[in-house]
């Protein structure tokens, strides 16, 4: 006999929630703006194009900074730097973290215990503090050093999450069934482990992306990030600090840019999880 298959639970259309669409729009806007700066900006970001600390106007949409440079142009450049740092740091964290996490999940109990303890110690350091230590130990502040430092610091969190998720998957009967089916360990990672853990990982990557953007802004604020003339949002905030009461828009504009990108990334990540997980799709 043939059992009736319930049709209500069939996977059909993807659920694109309003939150996901808002997140995608915010992230997309920053990506477009960041890429656009490779070809065009309203003004030369290093040129004095107006009066000092001018209010927003048609000529200068976000006003000018204390040297008379166009703030909107600098915020556009800042978007490019934020995206570069986020992408680079998350890529480093993903490669190092996922590799170590999978090794720990598959390792013997002793090796797993050592790796888990090492990760716990690394995680005990705040990401920013660890990044500052790495920057301080390197040749000096640069965009590349900031990316490396933030990526390495975030990799411990990614590794621990990967280890937990992978061990949970490895305990399932379908892994035993895969072994009985003749699938090797690399095949099990590729076919079963990674597809089952990546929806959670990608949410974490997006979170780490946002944290990397904040960490880079913090490093730049402290003078340990992208050096001038790179118009990092953190450096813009630091420069606006002195004039925050007389020209608050110099701090508000890069702050809004930073917050909108991080919120957009978080909303986008939640939506991605729904898309990636067939068990969350409903008609």
């Amino acid at each position: 006999m043939t059992d009736a298959i319930p049709t209500l639970a069939r996977a059909s259309s993807l659920r694109l929630t309003p939150a996901f669409l808002v997140g995608a729009a915010l992230v997309g806007l920053h990506v477009v703006v960041g890429l656009m700066t490779l070809l065009w900006t309203p003004y030369d970001p290093t040129a004095m194009t107006g009066g000092r600390l001018a209010l927003p106007s048609l000529a200068h949409w976000a006003g000018t900074d204390r040297l008379g440079r166009d703030l909107f142009t600098e915020i556009m450049i800042g978007a490019r730097i934020a995206l570069a740092v986020g992408t680079g740091a998350v890529a480093i964290a993903a490669v190092i973290g996922v590799t170590i996490g999978l090794l720990a999940a598959f390792a013997s109990r002793t090796v797993d215990d050592v790796l888990a303890a090492t990760l716990d110690i690394l995680i005990a350091f705040p990401t920013l503090l660890l990044a500052m230590l790495i920057v301080a130990a390197s040749d000096g502040a640069s965009l590349g050093t900031a990316i490396l430092a933030i990526g390495v610091a975030a990799s411990a969190i990614v590794a621990r999450l990967t280890r937990i998720l992978a061990r949970r998957v490895l305990a399932m009967d379908y892994i035993t069934a895969a072994r009985v089916s003749g699938t090797g360990w690399l095949g099990i990672i590729r076919i079963h482990v990674l597809p089952n853990i990546w929806p959670t990982l990608i949410v974490n990557f997006a979170l780490q992306f946002g944290l990397a953007v904040i960490a880079e802004a913090s490093l730049s604020y402290l003078g340990l990030g992208a050096p001038p003339p790179n118009a990092s949002w953190g450096r813009l905030l630091q420069e606006a600090q002195a004039t925050v009461y007389t020209a608050p828009f110099g701090a508000i504009a890069p702050g809004l840019a930073l917050v909108s990108l991080v919120i957009g990334l978080n909303l986008f990540a939640d939506g991605l999880r729904d898309v990636a997980d067939p068990t969350r799709r409903r008609r």
Partner: protein, 250 residues
């Protein structure tokens, strides 16, 4: 010739106590075997040994007369193709991220079986009474009984000689149990079954021989009919007395 032989097999986890002790067991083609015992009796460990997922601490396991050799890839490919399994929990035995077609085709791909994979998947689905369009769906779209059928389809797609079933009906309701028993009975015409269960009534419906395990030791073994009609060991008598029976399909 026997398919699998266990000779004086013992097994311990690490330095702990012996989970299995001095097991002698022969699985012959065409004679279904039931391995019965309560929780902790060593049933699942025997299953892992029979599947080559663990090696005995002492003793010998042979497949078609040759010692089981996990390091020999060619040997293990033949072994995996010939010996497949269905597990207890239909909800954790299917990868939720994979479509049914990929789940069922996994043994064919992993064992490099040269065949038309789509046709083999459709054939396996038909064997377990599921429609062809099930192949393009995900496990969460199916009931527990349907999932167990899919797990059976995966196990039989490589046309094994031996199908090991670990408590395959214990997580199912009574109606679905009866359907799965009917399906296993049909499959037993093409392959040998080894049923591992705490439910002596269930395995007795399908098995020619029974082995009764208590605390890692075989306390009674022989033809199912004689064990059911005149159990010798007090543990077997207790098991029989405490197990509700399904309707007789024999």
């Amino acid at each position: 010739m026997s398919l699998i032989d266990l000779t004086a097999v013992s097994f311990s986890y690490g330095r702990g106590r012996r989970v299995l002790d001095g097991i002698d067991l022969r699985i012959e083609a065409g004679r279904n075997l039931g391995i019965v015992g309560e929780s902790g009796s060593g049933k699942t460990t025997i299953l892992r040994l029979l599947l080559g997922l663990a090696l005995p601490t002492t003793g010998r396991i042979a497949f078609n007369g040759a010692p089981l050799d996990p390091g020999n890839r060619s040997f293990m490919r033949d072994f995996r193709r010939a010996v497949q399994a269905v597990f207890q929990d239909p909800y954790s035995s299917l990868d939720p991220r994979q479509k049914i077609a990929d789940i069922i085709a996994e043994p064919l791909r992993s064992l490099n079986v040269e065949t038309d994979i789509s046709a083999a998947v459709a054939g396996a689905l038909a064997s377990v009474d599921l429609p062809p369009d099930a192949a393009q769906r995900y496990p969460h779209e199916f009931s527990g009984g349907q999932r167990q059928r899919i797990a059976i389809a995966r196990a039989i797609v490589s046309r094994p000689e031996l199908l090991l079933a670990d408590e395959v009906v214990s997580a199912l309701d009574l109606t679905t149990r009866i359907r799965i028993v009917e399906l296993l009975k049909t499959l037993s015409e093409k392959m040998t079954l080894v049923l591992v269960s705490h439910d002596i009534g269930f395995v007795a419906l399908l098995c020619h021989d029974l082995i009764i395990l208590e605390k890692g030791r075989v306390v009674e073994q022989g033809p199912a009919g004689s064990i059911l009609s005149s159990p010798q060991h007090p543990y077997t008598q207790r098991l029989l007395a405490s197990t509700p029976r399904l309707p007789d399909f024999a």
